[in-house]
């Protein structure tokens, strides 16, 4: 993972699944609960960013993901939800 540490493991267009629970105690807690376990599409990749917890040190790469709301809230939800999630919360779907 060394060579991808700065840009992250995923590319725009990848389908990724958000993990259902934190994998380390110090993982960024700000992953939206409704997205856990759901599959989203990477629509933007930011690379490493400033740590959202201390607003100072570098932190794991960040992506903008797009989710179909209907897959989370049922067929009546016709919109798209766009949320930012960190590399450490994601696996290829």
């Amino acid at each position: 993972m060394q060579e991808t540490a700065e840009i992250g493991r995923f590319a725009v267009g990848d389908l990724v699944r958000v993990r259902t629970s934190p994998t380390t105690p110090t993982i960024n807690p700000r992953t939206p609960p409704y997205a856990l376990g759901h599959v989203g599409t990477v629509i933007k990749s930011y690379g490493i960013i400033v740590n959202p917890q201390d607003h100072h040190l570098p932190y794991k790469p960040l992506y903008t993901l797009s989710f179909k709301a209907s897959e989370i809230w049922g067929p009546k939800a016709t919109h798209v939800v766009v949320a930012e999630v960190h590399d450490e919360w994601l696996d290829l779907a």
Binding site: P25, T26, P29, R30, P32, Y34, Y46, I49, V50, P52, Q53, D54, H55, L62, T64, S66, A69, I72, W73, K76, A77, T78, H79, V80, V81, V82, A83, E84
Partner: protein
């Protein structure tokens, strides 16, 4: 006030909460609900949370606070206006200055090193036991207003006392809070209006804005702020963007001031994320064609989003300044279109009823 006196803006901090022309008080209940919602948010999450933080960190020992409280001239409730509308408007104005005062407490205090690791976990933000309680206000309107006036006074007193204690101990220079308040007053949604108007007339600016948001606003002499990445979501014929922060109330406020009051309500957060189309229709009277894709952007402290609304048709001959006047705080969040009167506080409060 009329919209073409830009130079008077400094006298109306946070006027975006109640933009000109939207102050219809046909529904005092809804207006009071909006005030309560905002007051409670700033009291719980900004004022008292900040105070506890300062106490825990040793910036402000309890004893100093109590001492300053004794020395602070006691704030007294002014005699409320007889007219209900005037009384509610007075509360709105007090809320605006209180919010500025509370935000001024974010001033950096003694830059020395602290031997505590400053992570959210350590701070307890996610600790169930440290959840902040909401106050309950009486239901009958007049009782409710009296009780809001009292709560407002208590928070005003607390702000004044904290400021006095910090100045007295020498941790904050005298005058620093006033400077901070002046600086805060210059940040507001009109920055957003200017950004949007420039993006409408200059496609290359718009492109730079989308790729490098914060850096690009410098071109308009707007200070870019420093709160994470600025996400820019552009509305088109086929895509309509809406912004929310479901976890807290992240917003590019260092650039655009405070979002509209309902942005911080649980009702808005819970409904928009799960049923954007229904909520836009019912609470904001915004009906979008079936073919238009609605994208709800969930802001975090990493990326804070603003919307570039669509330029209204028939505005080809308007100057950039005139175009900026078509942009409303609501349109920057995506709950209204540019050039369209946003839904009143009353109808939003009704639309989000029961979940405020």
């Amino acid at each position: 006030m009329s919209g073409n006196h830009e130079d008077h803006d400094h006298d109306h901090e946070h006027e975006h909460e109640h933009p000109p022309g939207h102050m219809h008080l046909q529904d005092p209940d809804a207006n009071v609900a909006a005030i309560v919602s905002d007051l409670e948010y700033f009291r719980r999450k900004r004022l008292e949370a900040r105070l506890l933080y300062m106490v825990r960190r040793g910036y402000l020992p309890f004893a100093n606070l109590l001492q300053a409280g004794k020395e602070n001239p006691v704030l007294e409730q002014t005699i409320p206006a007889e007219d209900l509308d005037d009384r509610i408007k007075a509360l709105q104005e007090r809320l605006n200055s209180l919010v500025t005062g509370i935000l001024s407490l974010q001033i950096p205090i003694r830059a020395g090193s602290i031997a505590i690791e400053d992570t959210r976990f350590e701070r307890g933000d996610y600790d169930e036991r440290l959840r902040l309680a909401k106050r309950i206000y009486p239901v009958p309107l007049l009782e409710r207003i009296s009780s809001v006036e009292q709560a407002m006074l208590e928070s005003e007193f607390l702000v004044a006392t904290i400021q006095r204690a910090l100045i007295k101990s020498g941790d904050v220079a005298a005058g620093a809070f006033d400077e901070r308040i002046d600086a805060l007053k210059s940040i507001g949604w009109r920055n957003g209006a200017r950004i949007v108007a420039r993006a409408w007339v200059d496609p290359e600016f718009k492109q730079r804005l989308i790729t490098q948001g914060r850096e690009t606003v410098r071109e308009l002499d707007i200070p870019p702020g420093k709160l994470g990445i600025l996400g820019i979501a552009e509305n088109t014929d086929s895509v309509h963007n809406v912004v929310v922060c479901t976890l807290c109330s992240c917003y590019p406020h260092d650039l655009l001031g405070n979002p509209p009051w309902w942005y911080r309500t649980d009702g808005y957060k819970e409904r928009v994320i799960a049923d954007a189309r229904g909520m836009l229709d019912e609470a904001f009277n915004l009906k979008l064609r079936d073919g238009v894709e609605i994208r709800v952007h969930d802001s975090t402290s990493d990326v804070r989003w603003m919307v570039i609304p669509q330029r209204p048709t028939g505005t080809e001959n308007l100057s950039e300044e005139e175009l900026a006047n078509l942009v409303t705080p609501e349109s920057l969040v995506g709950t209204a279109l540019a050039g369209q009167t946003p839904a009143s506080a009353a109808s939003v409060a009704h639309g989000l009823d029961g979940v405020l």
